[in-house]
Amino acid sequence: MNRFDYIRPATVAEAVTAASVPGSAFLAAGTNLLDLMKGGVVRPERLVDVSRLPGLDAVEALPDGAFRIGARVRNAELAHDRDFARRFPAVAEALLSGASAQLRNAATAGGNLLQRTRCAYFYDPASACNKREPGAGCDALGGENRLHAVLGWSESCIATHPSDFCVPLAALGAVVEIEGPGGRREVPLEEFHLLPGSTPERESVLSPGELVVALRLPAGADAFAAHSRYVKLRERTSYAFAVVSAAAMLRMEGGTIAEARLALGGVALKPWRAREAEAVLAGARPDAATFRRAAEAALEGAHPSGENGFKIELARRIAARALALAAAGTPERIPALPASPLAPVTGVALHG
């Protein structure tokens, strides 16, 4: 590991100033960053420790009906916040399906957004990676890429974004609150992460010094609480990243779908909001044929980036599954195997 400066600012303003120096990185729980530094994947010259900043650790309902999650809120803390989980059960389920209990106890909401891809070639300094070293090439292309992207990828990068948490957040229209040298701004989560294009080294809209301070679920996002699920396919039952995942939310009115939200994980370099699928679902009856049509719309334009064509059909199926589970109703309790297709389906809906 390289030598670096360590700064522990007392306020958000100090943090922003400190991190505006090129070569800086924010350190929250470090569940991803420290691994990357130890592996020589990233080598920041300055770490700005935001893990003790005041005012970023609240989960709060706002007067206008929105819901705000401070950037320092731990994954586990948020998932087990009863009021939050009741309003946004798919977000809680996604959180509990991620990583391990130990990691969830440490990892923060803001850090989750900014975790790096798990592409093995990105993690390996000896491999060519345009994300790590612009212009170096992409060894994942033509390499071991069965879990890589099928949507939104480019010849310069075929990696995926690994977050579970971000998938239902994208579906719910979450907004990222950012403090930076130029003041405060807000960016929809859907627009926060960047597809690789020809600049895969640019992963988000953040400029140097900009700090995620909160996530906000807009007023009305909890209208989906009664029909809200996250489903995640993985290669072991826990502590594995998604092969593909889906968050589905429905607002039902008189037996038809009044409004739908659908987002996919593990398919692209960002949580993939499927607006075309949502359009298919709006006003439709909640049946298997509808869900299949929506799933097909969601994967419109998908194509393999390597030996991963199976993920396209798998993503359609998991989207349809998530929709079917959402239609059946949010279970009273998050299953013991959160988000697992193998979790028993109770068929008993608490809400609606």
Binding site: A120, S127, E144, A240, L314, P341, L342
Partner: protein
């Protein structure tokens, strides 16, 4: 509970489900593992390892590494001191070539190419990075279907690559029904939780080495040979291993490099491999591609088994996975033919990995047996019983004992196998998940190596039992002490049991599921000798109540010698020794295989494993929801520990069938998932229900203790049972392991 199967004998430690004697140390963190040692003046070493798999190191920026603050020394082939032995010299079947900086050649990715020694681990690590090696790389071979296929001279350790019993081709030609299928197993890495670590401290030409070892005496001999010092100058301490699984059987190159670094810098050095560096220089299980051809008559009796294995060794050394062995002795067939060929890949040399040969061979053989049963329309258990081997089919020898029929019966009953529908995709659970049931036969040879032990009875009535045994988590601290206690006629709490140190008598190697049998036999004979000496003292002393008991004999129990014909007449150890004026009395013992028994009997442990899997019908996600294994392995020393060994082996079988594989990029020969987040082994949630039945078995031939060994058999049978259950659930026969989601959904209709 498993303990109920065991007959407890009054006054005996053997057979009792004692908890681990080292348990409190481990759960409180007080157990000292190698890397926990921090002698004064300690320096830290980090390895620079090759990122190419073949070629040579063209340059290293040694100056940059040396200039880094805290770096004390940089060791490369250019300045590495001469060694007393050539690390490429082969001196015996357990001798493997190692990379000890002898030259600039790169043989595999992850090969050590330099050592950086520094005041801190961080400085050493950064120094290693600053070396910024440049390579002259050559094209690599990383896949089994490479060119230059050849027949190795030997597989495993000295086994013939080919075996022919009867005429398999004729048997296949004459068969009424037959199947042929090819199965692929990937390279796997041991991934012991504790990485290979060494703390070495030299004092002149003497060295103390703290390092995990499954074979202390082997380690001492290797260190002596490489560094040119007498074995008695070498002290290796290995009280606890955080797992070994074969990768710590022989001292590895990196461990020797840590010792080398300490000698060169003249201070103690600690070297701990980071997880990623365990995918290269410390061995792995080689990949296999296995073709099974089975034929039967119209009633389902096997007419022939043909088992061909393609495997791989490194380009520079020989270890060939003995995956055919399982077929030699498991099922009765008039003709059995096994063959092995191999290619050479640009990898580190493969090595023994828990159930070497048997694990890989078993999943293929048990899958093929299942495919044959399907072709016959027979229940898979019935098919195995139809072909039950009453004698070893290849050699014709009787089995020393074989309670496999009871394993089948007890396992099937406990699992509820009866009534299983023959057709696949016949069962669903209440949530619509596909349910499948599969089974497999477990088997592992009952081996013995050679060991020595020492037993001492002391004047205060306590005892000491010593052997340089290795506790790698299996419970040697406990089980061996139980054997020693019984042999010395003492309660286990009156015994001081010493192990895990090279200065103790050589306990052989903790491998081949033979450690309890081998070291236990040595302890038993040492205990018997010391008791015999004590009895001699007593019986020849007219002041002893045992005087003249000679013909009747004495029995040792609870610290007393008792007349066998009148147990009311006896005397405590204390009083015998006190009267003789002795502080202590010593016995020595040996444990080794009995060549005569081995000549006459085929010796194997057996078992039957039944598995239930559930599979999501659209998404292909698999979970092994229920496992029942029934195993017969002779005398059970400690049913709690044996149960744990079976469960651990069965979980490894889950891993083999469903999770575990090294992802090797064929372009570079590099393992791309060299970490425990992406190299998947099962988590608790993958093993919701698992149960082992300890089937009673008495073996009068295998060794004096009647112990067959339980460390590896659990993997065998289990992996195949799960694969077969996946077929039964889905109707899809996956022949490439681990079972991948895409293999299961590939042929399914789009929902």
């Amino acid at each position: 509970m498993a303990e109920t199967a065991i007959q407890l004998r009054h006054g005996s430690s053997i057979g009792q489900p004692l908890t681990r004697r080292d348990g409190p140390l481990k759960v409180t963190g007080a157990a000292t593992y190698a890397a926990d040692n921090n002698p004064p003046g300690l320096l830290h070493a980090a390895l620079a390892v090759s990122t190419v798999a073949r070629g040579r190191v063209a340059s290293l920026d040694v100056a940059a590494a040396r200039a880094h603050p805290g770096v004390a020394e940089v060791i490369t082939p250019a300045n590495r001191p001469p060694l007393a032995a050539d690390p490429d010299e082969k001196t015996g079947p357990f001798s493997f070539r190692q990379e000890l900086l002898q030259n600039d050649t790169v043989r595999y990715a992850g090969q050590p190419i330099a050592i950086v020694v520094a005041e801190t681990l961080e400085a050493a690590t950064e120094g290693a990075r600053l070396l910024a090696p440049r390579y002259e790389a050559e094209p690599v071979l990383a896949e089994l279907d490479g060119p230059d296929v050849f027949t190795p001279a030997a597989i495993g350790v000295g086994n013939a690559p080919n075996m022919q019993h009867g005429d398999a081709e004729a048997g296949l030609a004459a068969a009424e029904s037959s199947i042929a299928a090819t199965y692929d197993t990937p390279a796997q890495y041991h991934n012991a939780m504790e990485p290979h670590a060494v703390v070495a401290a030299w004092d002149g030409d003497r060295v103390t080495v703290d390092t995990p070892s499954q074979g202390l005496a082997f380690a001492v001999m290797r260190i002596a040979g490489i560094f040119g010092i007498p074995p008695e100058n070498i002290h290796v301490r290995s009280p606890f291993l955080g797992g070994g699984f074969g990768s710590k059987g022989l001292i590895s190159g990196p461990q020797l490099l840590g010792i080398l670094a300490a000698r060169m810098v003249g201070r103690p050095v600690k070297l701990v491999l980071p997880r990623a560096q365990m995918y290269g220089p410390v061995g792995h299980r080689a990949p296999t591609r296995q073709t099974l051809r089975l034929g039967t008559d119209s009633k389902g009796a096997l007419t022939a088994i043909s088992h061909h294995v393609r495997t791989a060794s490194s380009r520079y050394d020989d270890f060939f996975e003995p995956a055919v062995g399982v077929t030699h002795s498991l099922y009765a067939a008039p003709a059995i033919e096994t063959t092995t060929d191999a290619v050479r890949l640009d990898t580190g040399t493969p090595t023994f990995m828990r159930a070497p040969g048997e694990a890989s061979g078993s999943i293929a053989l048990e899958s093929a047996m299942d495919e044959m049963a399907v072709a016959l329309g027979m229940d898979p258990l019935e098919f195995r019983l139809r072909n039950y081997a009453e004698v070893d089919p290849a050699s014709g020898k009787p089995f020393s004992s074989k309670a496999l029929r009871e394993c089948y019966a007890q396992g099937a009953a406990r699992f509820g196998w009866a009534g299983r529908p023959i057709a696949p995709r016949s069962m669903r659970d209440e949530n619509g998940l596909l349910v499948g049931w599969g089974m497999g036969t477990a088997t592992f040879p009952a081996l013995m190596f050679a060991a020595q032990a020492r037993a001492v009875l002391r004047r205060d009535g306590s005892g000491v039992a010593e052997t340089g045994a290795h506790d790698m988590g299996q419970g040697a601290w406990t089980a061996l002490a139980q054997i020693a206690a019984d042999s010395m006629g003492l309660d286990i709490d009156r015994i001081e049991f010493r192990a895990g140190d090279s200065r103790l008598p050589d306990a052989g190697i903790a491998g081949g599921s033979a450690h309890t049998a081998t070291a236990g036999a040595a302890l038993r004979s040492a205990g018997e000798e010391v008791v015999a000496k004590l009895a001699e003292l007593a019986m020849s002393d007219e002041r002893s109540p045992l005087f003249g008991a000679g013909n009747a004999g004495v029995v040792a129990r609870n610290g007393r010698l008792l007349r066998r014909d009148d147990e009311a007449r006896g005397e405590s150890y204390e009083s015998i020794l006190a009267r003789a004026g002795l502080e202590e009395i010593e016995g020595k013992g040996r444990g080794a295989a009995d060549p005569a028994a081995q000549e006459h009997y085929s010796m194997h442990a057996h078992g039957a494993v039944f598995a239930e899997v559930k599979v999501d019908p659209e998404l292909g996600q698999v979970r092994a929801t229920r496992l029942v294994g029934a195993f017969a392995a002779g005398t059970v020393i400690n049913p709690r520990l044996v149960n744990s060994q079976y469960l651990g082996g069965m979980i490894w079988g889950v891993s083999f069938a469903l999770h575990e594989a090294a992802v090797v990029d064929p372009r570079s020969g590099r393992v791309m998932n060299a970490n425990l987040a992406e190299y998947h082994v099962p988590v608790n949630a993958d093993v919701p229900s698992i149960e082992a039945i300890l089937v009673e078995e008495h073996d009068p031939h295998v060794n004096a203790l009647g112990v067959k060994g339980v460390g590896e058999i659990g993997i065998t049978g289990t992996a195949g049972a799960i694969a077969n259950a996946v077929w039964h659930a889905t109707g899809v026969r996956v022949r490439q392991f681990p079972v991948a989601i895409e293999a299961l959904i590939a042929d399914w209709p789009q929902s």
